[in-house]
């Protein structure tokens, strides 16, 4: 006896599947999807039907469902390379890089020369900053790479990260005259610090497009990144003289003036950006930060206050206000601002960090401790919270809390487990060990601190202390010289608080 209904189902399912594929080829995705769903309903363990449905859903950008379907297909047919590859592609697009990588490695074990898998693994590796693997994989499938600007960009980016500038440039030259592709290449070069190449690509794009304004803006951005602030200003000047000047152009001009210490002009530029885009809080935020950097704290408070009126529901804006209030030592006000920011967006780490710090500064230690503990629970992978909490614990340790230092050390080690290059954590841990007499360990951590933060005067100072304890006098002297040089620069840049960014001071 055989199951006639099963046979009937199978025939019907095949019919639906065939129709579905036909409809898909003709571009009728909606009906194709319906047919393929019916095929799958009738034969839910048919890998071919599942794969077809998954592919169709992917084409229609229904990636999550497509991924679920591909997973089912793979369960039914675990050796189906096509299904596995499509699944990996979905996962990559969904940013599930670890799982994507797992499937690609299985594929390459089975079929080491599978070019699409190599290509995809290259892309995934670049996304996960495994640049060596990315370069190896993408470099091994030039035919595949050359077809796709994104792959060319990924390969170039990998070469830049591996400090292989010439290879990166050669790769970018594979980009065609297509403006979009060239812009992508320019962005990659810019990010890679290859500003000359970025400008060259942008000039190519300018030559072949009508929208030179946007490209000139991009060129000015590259010049800014390259530290060529006067050039950046000159590039932007024609743009701001046009009638369709963009707020971004004024924003960038403001940054250029800031770097050139022309604060008044920077303020004017940002105010123009604000007037052009009153609904964009980023201009207020940038202006506020620049004013703080130049110590125009009262003016920064004005800007922050205006911003909070304009954007009453913006956590970043209230963070700015809290930051300015803290700078003015108005810690109780800062607490209110940061607390409001937390209420507006509980997922903003900066709000919680700012709140805790303001509470510490105001002497509300219990409140600060609660804020830290809540924030650390909520954001366990955020090292800044742990380091800031450790700072509080170290202060409590100084004040006589016998267990606080041990807890501080634990926090710092947890922070370093998340980010081994966190120079602040390395410095604080090194100092703690030094004070505890663990000089050799202190030395190691402080050496790492100066490696990751070579401009930190305090790290050099602490390392000098450690070297002195180890009787490494010459090394201590070298570190002290570095400390003194950096400290001098810090003190020079600490201008007294100024009232207004102009030549006339008024009350």
């Amino acid at each position: 006896m055989y199951d006639l209904s099963a046979t009937e189902n199978g025939t019907q399912a095949q019919a639906h599947a065939d129709l579905g594929l036909q409809l898909a080829r003709s571009g009728n995705l909606e009906r194709a999807e319906a047919e393929l769903r019916q095929a799958v309903d009738l034969e839910p363990r048919n890998a071919e039907f599942l794969s077809a449905l998954g592919t169709l859903l992917a084409m229609d950008k229904k990636l999550e469902e497509s991924t679920t379907i591909f997973r089912k297909a793979l369960q039914v047919a675990p050796n189906n390379s096509t299904v596995r590859r499509y699944l990996a592609a979905n996962l990559w697009q969904l940013h599930s890089y670890a799982e994507a990588k797992k499937h690609l490695q299985i594929l390459l074990q089975q079929h080491p020369d599978d070019a699409p898998s190599r290509l995809l693994l290259g892309m995934v590796s670049e996304n996960t900053q495994d640049y060596a693997t990315a370069a190896k994989m993408l470099g091994s499938v030039p035919v595949e790479v050359i077809k796709r600007p994104e792959s060319i960009a990924a390969l170039a980016s990998s070469y830049y990260h591996l400090h292989e500038r010439d290879q990166a440039r050669d790769t970018l030259r594979l980009l065609s005259g297509d403006t979009k592709a060239v812009l992508l290449g320019a962005e990659i070069a810019d990010q890679g610090g290859d500003y000359d190449e970025a400008e060259r690509l942008l000039q190519l794009a300018v030559a072949s497009t009508a929208d030179s304004g946007a490209l000139e803006y991009r060129r000015a951005l590259v010049q800014y990144h390259a530290g060529r602030f006067s050039e950046c200003q000159r590039t932007l000047q024609p743009l701001i003289e046009t009638t369709n000047v963009t707020p971004q152009a004024y924003n960038l001009l403001g940054w250029c003036y800031h770097r050139g210490n022309e604060v008044k002009r920077a303020v004017e530029a940002f105010e123009h950006a604000i007037s052009l885009a009153p609904g964009d809080e980023s201009n207020y935020l940038d202006l506020g930060r620049i004013l703080l950097a130049h110590n125009f704290v009262p003016v920064a408070l004005d800007v922050a206050t205006r911003a909070t009126t304009q954007f009453p529901n913006s956590a970043p804006v209230f963070n700015l206000r809290g930051l300015v209030e803290s700078r003015r030592l108005q810690f109780t006000d800062a607490i209110h601002s940061y607390a409001h920011a937390v209420q507006l967006d509980g997922g903003n780490v900066d709000s919680r960090l700012g709140l805790a710090r303001a509470q510490v500064s105001a002497g509300l230690i219990s409140d600060a401790t609660l804020t830290f503990n809540t924030a650390i629970q909520r954001f366990p992978k955020e090292p800044r919270l742990k380091v800031a909490y450790a700072e509080l614990l170290l202060k409590l340790g100084d004040a006589g809390d016998v267990v606080a230092n041990a807890r501080a050390e634990k926090m710092l080690r947890l922070a370093l487990a998340i980010d081994a290059s966190n120079s602040d954590a390395l410095y604080k841990l090194g100092n703690l060990e030094l004070n505890d007499g663990r000089v050799a360990e202190a030395c190691k951590n402080l050496q790492q601190a100066v490696k990751f933060s070579p401009q930190s005067s305090e790290a050099h100072f602490a390392l000098a202390r450690a070297y002195r304890r180890l009787k490494r006098t010459n090394d201590a002297a070298k570190e002290m010289d570095l400390y003194k040089g950096l400290k001098e620069k810090e003190l020079e840049s600490q201008a007294p608080e100024a009232s207004v960014p102009s030549d006339e001071a008024h009350n």
Binding site: P298, R328, L329, Q330, F331, T332, D333, S361, A362, G363, L364, G397, D398, A399, G400, N431, L434, N435, S457, E458, H460, F461, A462, R465, R468, R469, M480, Y483, K487, Q494, P496, E497, S499, A505, N507
Partner: protein, 577 residues
């Protein structure tokens, strides 16, 4: 109460119950025991200012211009200006500012100790009541070795030297002596004999560039307030060499001091490396502290960085104001305390054999005790005469607006009396120190001296725009003690720079006659050593400032011993009085 008729046995028992404690007390008094009942009932220090008749008030010149100098005055000195064996008190007034005027003429005060707990202001009679500059601090020293202490008053934009004429009057000899320190804002100063020629030289801390024509504008919480000290550019120290003829020479450049500008406020002269030559610890405000080692050739070399007292562990220069040096752990080496701003803790540095100081601020509990305070005058003193140096710290903020931005820092702050427990920590004696320590002030200067000659350290505190506070010590004389009044012959007469080592019951206690110390203040030059419960005679070794060593044995306790520096190199003298 119910009346009952007692039986004779009961009555006798009751009488015995009353009499026995009295009998015990009587025995204790006779044997000079420490009467437990009496000391536990007394506060450690009593404010006797009113009883003493001290009514003077400091004037800061506080004004809307908010010149930082308005927050920083308060000089005070204990000195025996008339040689009658009783410590008098000199108080330095502040001054007027362009918009901070006094309704009455400003004057310094010289309170003469009348010996019965009373004092009388004789400043006008003595000719030290007026100065023509904004007054800051004072240092007392017999610069001409005539037996009468002279006064150097610091201030802005000048300082003044008053020579003690020996007849109850002083003469302003500033210009003749060449010690005006013109144009500078001077703070603490110290007499010390840096070249060991037997004549006291003068070191002056200069704070910062200041001009009454150029007020700086700062705000705290939207209110005009005093600017942070970093808004003012620091200055180098001034060193005046005593020429021996009533004149001085500014040798700051030659001494290597001109290349060390900073905002200096406190100074103490003490032999740091035990080579017999006086060195200097300079407390500086948001400038690195200085540890100036005397090179024996008229120059000084700053060793603060290597000694790890210049900055805190983060490489930050704290806001050092007052400083004192003394041996708090009885290892024979001077340790240092420095007062700082709130959140910085007042620092405690103890000497080690390597020359690097150990920062014991936290482990000694000083950090926890001083976190919220802005400190000024500070002095090591053995208030209970148990042989361990205790610590007094004077606190007070500069900005009234601080209370609108901080919940843990106040404008007026209490002074602190911290007892040295003997195991490396300090204990706050607030509850029994006396009412003064339970109150809050804008405290500034602190001078220590035994004004009633009962063998324990008394104190006088100055407050901004307020009355000084004279504190009488009630407990120190209940322990054994010994005191020395040194007089140099080839060394400077005040014996500043002498090192005194008292050996008692196998324990050696080391003290120095320092120059300067605290903030804007000058102290009793006698050496007072607490001996705890040991009343047996003690041995003393003295290293005089010019290098001579002297040994004295079997000195009875409970009194001050006048000791003259031997002229001939005969180190073994026994002196009985």
């Amino acid at each position: 109460m119910k009346l009952t008729i007692d039986s004779p046995v009961t009555r006798q028992a009751r009488l015995a119950a009353c009499v026995i404690p009295l009998f015990v007390i009587g025995i204790c008094v006779a044997l000079s025991c420490r009467p437990v009942f009496a000391s536990s009932a007394k506060e450690i220090f009593t404010d006797v200012t009113q009883d003493a008749g001290i009514s003077w008030r400091q004037f800061s010149g506080e004004s809307p211009d908010r010149f930082l100098i308005e927050t920083m005055g308060g000089g005070v000195a204990f000195l025996d200006f008339d040689g009658d064996g009783l410590l008098d008190i000199f108080l330095v007034n502040g001054g007027e500012t362009p918009h901070g005027k006094s309704p009455t003429p400003l004057k310094n005060s010289l309170y003469r100790n009348l010996g019965n707990g009373k004092f009388e202001d004789v400043a006008t009679k003595a000719g030290v009541d007026k100065i023509n500059f904004y007054g800051m601090g004072v240092t007392v020293g017999d610069f001409d070795n005539d037996g009468f202490p002279d006064l150097y008053v610091t201030g802005f934009p000048a300082s003044a030297l008053f020579h003690n004429n020996g007849d109850g009057t002083f003469t302003d000899i500033t210009d003749k002596a060449g010690v005006k320190n013109s144009g500078r804002w001077a703070a603490s100063a110290a007499w010390f004999d840096y070249d060991r020629d037997g004549l006291l030289d003068l070191i002056v801390t200069n704070y910062a560039q200041l001009s009454f024509d150029n007020p700086k504008k700062c705000e705290l919480n939207g209110v005009r307030s005093y600017c942070a000290q970093v808004a003012y550019v620091g200055l180098p120290l001034t060193l005046f060499h005593n020429n021996g003829d009533g004149t001085f020479t500014d040798v700051s450049v030659a001494a290597g001091l001109e290349k060390l500008p900073g905002r200096a406020l406190g100074i103490v002269a003490i032999d740091v490396n035990d080579d017999g030559w006086p060195d200097l610890f300079v407390a500086r405000d948001a400038s690195p502290n200085l540890l100036l080692i005397n090179k024996h050739n008229g120059t000084f070399e700053d060793a603060a960085l290597d000694a790890e007292v210049a900055y805190d562990e983060n490489g930050i220069a704290k806001s050092g104001m007052g400083v004192d040096g003394g041996d708090i752990n009885n290892d024979g080496k001077p340790d240092f305390v420095v007062t700082n701003f709130n959140d910085q803790y007042h620092s405690l540095f103890t000497a080690s054999s390597s020359g690097v100081y150990v920062d014991r601020t936290a482990v000694s509990h000083l950090a926890g005790l001083t976190k919220s305070y802005v400190g000024w005058g500070t002095k090591f003193l053995d208030y209970d005469n148990d042989g361990n140096l205790d610590l007094m710290l004077i606190n007070g903020h500069i900005n009234e607006e601080i209370e609108s931005t901080r919940l843990d820092v106040k404008y007026k702050e209490p002074p602190l009396l911290l007892r040295n427990t003997g195991n490396g920590t300090f204990q706050n004696m607030r509850e029994i120190a006396g009412a003064t320590f339970l109150s809050t002030y804008l405290g500034r200067g602190l001078a220590i001296g035994d004004f009633d000659n009962d063998g324990d350290s008394d104190a006088v505190i100055t407050t901004l725009n307020g009355h000084p506070i004279l504190l009488r010590n009630n407990v120190g004389q209940n322990n054994s003690w010994i005191g020395f009044s040194l007089q140099g012959t080839t060394s400077n007469r005040d014996a500043i720079g002498a090192k005194v080592m008292v050996t008692s019951s196998g324990r050696t206690i080391t003290r120095w006659i320092t120059g300067g110390g605290s903030y804007l203040a000058s102290h009793d030059k006698r050496v007072l050593v607490g001996l705890g419960g040991n009343a047996k005679p003690v041995n003393v070794d003295i290293r005089w400032p010019n290098g001579l060593s002297q040994h004295l044995s079997n000195l009875p306790t409970g009194r001050y011993h006048p000791i003259l520096e031997p002229k001939a190199p005969n180190p073994f003298n026994q002196i009985h009085k």
